[in-house]
């Protein structure tokens, strides 16, 4: 990638780059090619210095009822605890003589039979917290015993492995960036819909000129790699922030945002797929992720959420629908990945902040609980790792809740080391044992 090419692209896009001290957006050199010619999109991602693996996180928000997801249908205690909510043994999609999947998870059963799904049973952490916020924070930060943590486990992964100049390291679908993806240095990109990730004023052309760099004398922006937009100068040994370098920083970020927005919008709008995703933000989010993977963004982690799992009352029908939506999305996404021939590069991880109480409550619902299953999807999964760990006992409980067998940080360590090929200790603060889940 040469600067003259960069400049040509800018001019094509209507950005007024006139001076010789050309403003180079921080990530343009490595990624602008895809935007310049949308038809020339490679099937696989261009990676700089790392392998091209992708992690897609699916968060089930509100506390998914693990017991009615991976169902211990062979246990009388399940039927005793759930007189109004239990699934009959004959409808459960059996995995062995003890557990089976919720009847609406047929697509997951298929993936399981194909060796594409690993179900990790009884995942949790010590002294489980039953507040949504706090428990979600614990899963996101991976630091259960410290109140103040401003970074998440994936954010620290970015901090340790990315330069921080490309805004696409992590992309979350949603109005707010999940704490899990926030690093001390690297922040994720997030948007609910790609069409909201753009400037909505009318005069786009002049907006670009006013934010595009070299129109003002103050905008001699240093090229990338000079400190990630610190915007600081040294004056008499004291670092002082000035209006000029603050403007540079803002201008650079605005330009990054514009290029990134153009590119993502184009990728998503031009995306054709035969997969049918479920309606709603979860299904659309997965479709958007598939479009971005197809478009070759250098993104390593995508994040999608499905909400509504806080089923305190009349859980039955609601949870059935959620299971169906969840499974449809997963199934559509994996069909899409196979069609794109990108499936080998992708691992999907599903979790919820906690499971629910074993005993149903008086309102045909369930209250906040503790341990629950996690799902990992992908062709990299070892067939024998279909069902990992033992199902927690339904009778030996802690305050009415399942006791975890596997700490979620063992799963994170496994993903970091065996999938993302990065040491997990600097990210998780201590060395957690990995679980043999992946093909060697």
């Amino acid at each position: 990638m040469t600067h003259s090419h960069t400049r040509r692209v800018f001019l094509q896009r209507g950005l007024a780059l006139v001076s010789a001290g050309l403003t180079v957006p921080t990530f343009i050199d490595s990624t602008v090619w895809a935007m310049a010619d949308p038809l020339d999109v490679k099937l696989t991602q261009q990676e700089s210095g790392t392998d091209g693996k992708i992690l897609v996180v699916v968060q089930l928000s509100g506390g998914n009822d693990g017991l009615n997801t991976v169902i211990p249908y062979g246990d009388d205690a399940y039927y005793r605890a759930r007189p109004g909510l239990a699934k009959r043994a004959e409808e459960v999609l059996k995995l062995n003589s003890y557990v089976g999947l919720h009847p609406n998870l047929a697509p997951l059963k298929e993936l399981y039979d194909d060796g594409m799904l690993s179900i990790i049973q009884g995942v949790g952490y010590p002294n489980p917290n039953r507040s949504h916020f706090r428990s979600m924070d614990i899963w996101h930060t991976a630091i259960p015993d410290k109140e103040v943590t401003t970074s998440g486990w994936l954010g620290r992964y970015f901090d340790n492995t990315c330069s921080g100049e490309d805004p696409h390291a992590g992309i979350a679908i949603g109005d707010t960036a999940p704490l899990a993806m926030k690093g001390e240095r690297v922040l994720p990109l997030n948007f609910e819909r790609p069409e909201n990730y753009r400037y909505k004023g009318q005069d786009q052309e002049r907006y670009l000129k006013l934010n595009g760099g070299t129109v003002g004398q103050e905008t001699t922006v240093e090229p990338s790699g000079t400190g990630g937009g610190s915007g600081q100068t040294k004056t008499k040994g004291v670092r002082i922030i000035t209006p000029d370098n603050q403007l540079e920083f803002l201008t650079r970020t605005a330009m990054d945002a514009q290029l990134s927005s153009d590119r993502i919008t184009q990728l998503v709008n031009n995306y054709n797929t035969r997969s049918s995703y479920p309606r709603g933000s979860y299904g659309e989010g997965l479709r958007t992720v598939a479009a971005m993977i197809r478009g070759g963004l250098p993104t390593r982690v995508y994040y999608v959420s499905l909400g509504g799992f806080d089923t305190h009352a009349n859980q039955g029908g609601r949870h059935d629908n959620l299971m169906q939506q969840f499974a449809q999305g997963v199934s559509a996404f994996w069909n899409d990945m196979k069609e794109q021939k990108n499936h080998q590069r992708v691992l999907m991880m599903c979790f919820s902040e906690f499971g629910r109480r074993v005993q149903q409550n008086a309102s045909q619902g369930t209250d906040h609980g503790a341990a629950a299953p996690m799902f990992l999807f992908g062709p990299a999964i070892e067939k024998r790792a279909g069902l990992v760990g033992n199902h927690p006992s339904l009778t030996r409980l802690d305050q009415g809740d399942l006791i975890h067998n596997i700490d979620f940080r063992n799963v994170y360590a496994t993903i970091l080391q065996d999938w993302l090929n990065t040491p997990s200790k600097p990210i998780l603060g201590q060395q957690f044992k990995t679980i043999p889940i992946f093909k060697s």
Binding site: F133, E147, V148, T149, T150, P167, D175, T176, A177, L187, P188, L189, N190, F191, N196, Y197, R198, Y199, K200, G201, Q202, D203, R206, Y207, K209, L210, N211, V215, G216, Q217, E218, G229, S230, G231, Q232, T235, V238, R239, I240, I241, T242, P243, Q246, L247, F249, L250, T251, T253, A254, D256, A257, S260, S261, H312, N361, A362, S363
Partner: protein, 487 residues
């Protein structure tokens, strides 16, 4: 009296560095949420000393001291018991299901009341009589942090907001003592669980690390001993109580001094620590002047605080009238916080402040929801407000506000605006040449000179024959300049 650092000496105007509109606007931006043309004129006339005195001239008390009617709507939580004892009584004899329903209703009522408080507060920042008082309250809210994510009681969050307001420019020592008795704070930092038999060090640690001294100025043992002194400081759901039997009244050693200390004694010892004045001075500097500082200036400013027995007004006055404050490098060098951006836009454009319910999504995406700081460290601020996602949200939110309904009722502080045309959005008048129109709007919104090249783009946007729609477009372009993100 120690000698004041030269940078903190009062700003005196000269022919090369006059007291001008840019400086007057700077004062109103930092010591408030942005000034209208008339407000800038008044500050310009008064000069920095008198203007700062006037800005600081608000009653040291909660909001009902100022107005009994300008209060948040707490009707949602009326009728629900506040104290734990009353709540227990209410739940007595109820079935599990009834309790759950009652709990749900109470949670909902608290959520509604919390939104009402946030809404009231943001409206007050925009239209209230003392914007600087509210700016200081916001500063302290980020300093002595409590989040409604953890403290679910709207009543306690409201009490805290009022306590912070009452002490915002008062005496820092008395303020810290009030903070240490604040029920929401006792909850947030677990002093409610700090008992003689099982001390909890959370409050003692943050009291020193974040609230008064900064890291590195105390030992782990000082934390342990301070925690003992605060045992038994608790609340009953409504107000502070001292639980005598949970209090450890044994001898403690703190900062090398031995004594039978309680929490107030610990605070007095902290105030005597040489790091306390400079630490608080640095927090003020970071929030009101610049993200970065010269330690020599901070040491001197901290000395002002100490010499005045921790009265905050003299230090604030020194800071806001100083040469340093009006240094060219400090004007327009601050990235507006999301609240500053929203409230400032409403004030500068003279448009109506939307209900917080309609703003919450945008504030959340920009990273600053009032009453919900992300961690005990408050909002990180500065460059942390900005990334490729928030950039668009910030631009689009401002444009959305500009397209909103104009203010329809007269308010004291806000300038009168042309309200004849109620269609939507800002009022624009097409009089004078294109250049004059552009310059007027740049002065009103950005309040500092902009580059000739950018000015030319704005002039070209209007064209030679200005009309309402082209002027409106030009205004939206000013609002979409990176310069507008700074104050």
């Amino acid at each position: 009296m120690a000698r004041l650092h030269p940078q903190l000496e009062p700003f005196v105007e000269s022919s090369s560095d006059p007291w001008d509109r840019v400086k007057a606007a700077h004062l109103l931006n930092r010591a408030g949420f942005g000034g209208t043309e008339q407000e800038i004129n008044r500050v310009l006339e008064a000069g920095p000393q008198a203007a700062v005195d006037e800005l600081l001239d608000f009653p040291d008390g909660p909001s009902d001291l100022i107005s009994a009617t300008d209060q948040p709507d707490l009707s949602h939580i009326e009728g629900y018991p506040r104290t734990f004892a009353e709540r227990r009584k209410l739940f007595e004899g109820k079935t599990a299901e009834e309790r759950m329903l009652l709990n749900q209703r109470m949670n909902q009522a608290n959520q509604q009341a919390l939104r009402a408080i946030a809404n009231w507060w943001v409206q007050r920042m925009a239209y209230g009589p003392y914007p600087f008082h509210e700016k200081l309250t916001l500063f302290w809210h980020g300093h002595f942090t409590t989040s409604a994510r953890d403290e679910r009681s709207a009543w306690l969050m409201w009490q805290q907001n009022e306590t912070w307001r009452a002490h915002a420019a008062g005496n820092f020592g008395r303020f810290v003592k009030a903070v240490s008795r604040d029920p929401a704070m006792l909850d947030y930092l677990n002093n409610q669980q700090n008992r003689k038999a099982r001390p909890n060090e959370n409050y003692a640690r943050e009291l020193m690390e974040l609230f008064t001294l900064g890291i590195g100025n105390y030992t782990e043992n000082d934390i342990k001993e301070a925690a003992r002194a605060f045992t038994g400081w608790a609340h009953d759901g409504e107000a502070f109580i001292f639980r005598k039997f949970d209090h450890d009244d044994g001898e403690k050693t703190f900062f090398g001094v031995r004594g039978n200390f309680d929490g107030d004694d610990i605070i007095d010892l902290i105030l005597r620590h040489k790091a306390c004045g400079p630490y608080i001075a640095s927090r003020f500097w970071n929030f009101f002047v610049n993200e970065q500082y010269d330690p020599a200036v901070i040491a001197s400013l901290g000395e002002v605080l100490r010499e005045n027995d921790y009265e905050l007004r003299p230090m604030i006055r020194t800071l806001l009238t100083s040469k340093a404050f009006y240094n060219r490098q400090n004007i327009g060098s601050q990235i507006k916080s999301p609240i500053q951006l929203v409230v400032g836009t409403v004030r500068l454009l003279g448009v109506k402040m939307p209900e917080v319910n309609r703003l919450n999504g945008a504030l959340n995406q920009m990273g600053q929801v009032p009453l919900m700081p992300p961690t005990v460290k408050g909002w990180p601020g500065g460059k942390m407000w900005i990334n490729t996602s928030t950039m668009f949200v910030r631009y689009n939110t401002v444009l959305w506000l500009a397209g909103g309904e104009p203010v329809t009722s007269g308010r004291r502080v806000i300038d009168a605006i042309n309200r004849r045309n109620r269609s939507s959005g800002i009022q624009v008048e097409v009089d004078g040449s294109t250049e004059q129109i552009v310059d007027r709007w740049v002065e009103r919104l950005i309040q500092r000179p902009i580059s000739e090249q950018k000015r030319a783009i704005l002039i070209e946007a209007i064209g030679s024959e200005p009309n309402e729609s082209s002027v409106r477009n030009m205004v939206s372009l000013i609002l979409s300049m990176p310069e507008y993100q700074l104050c």
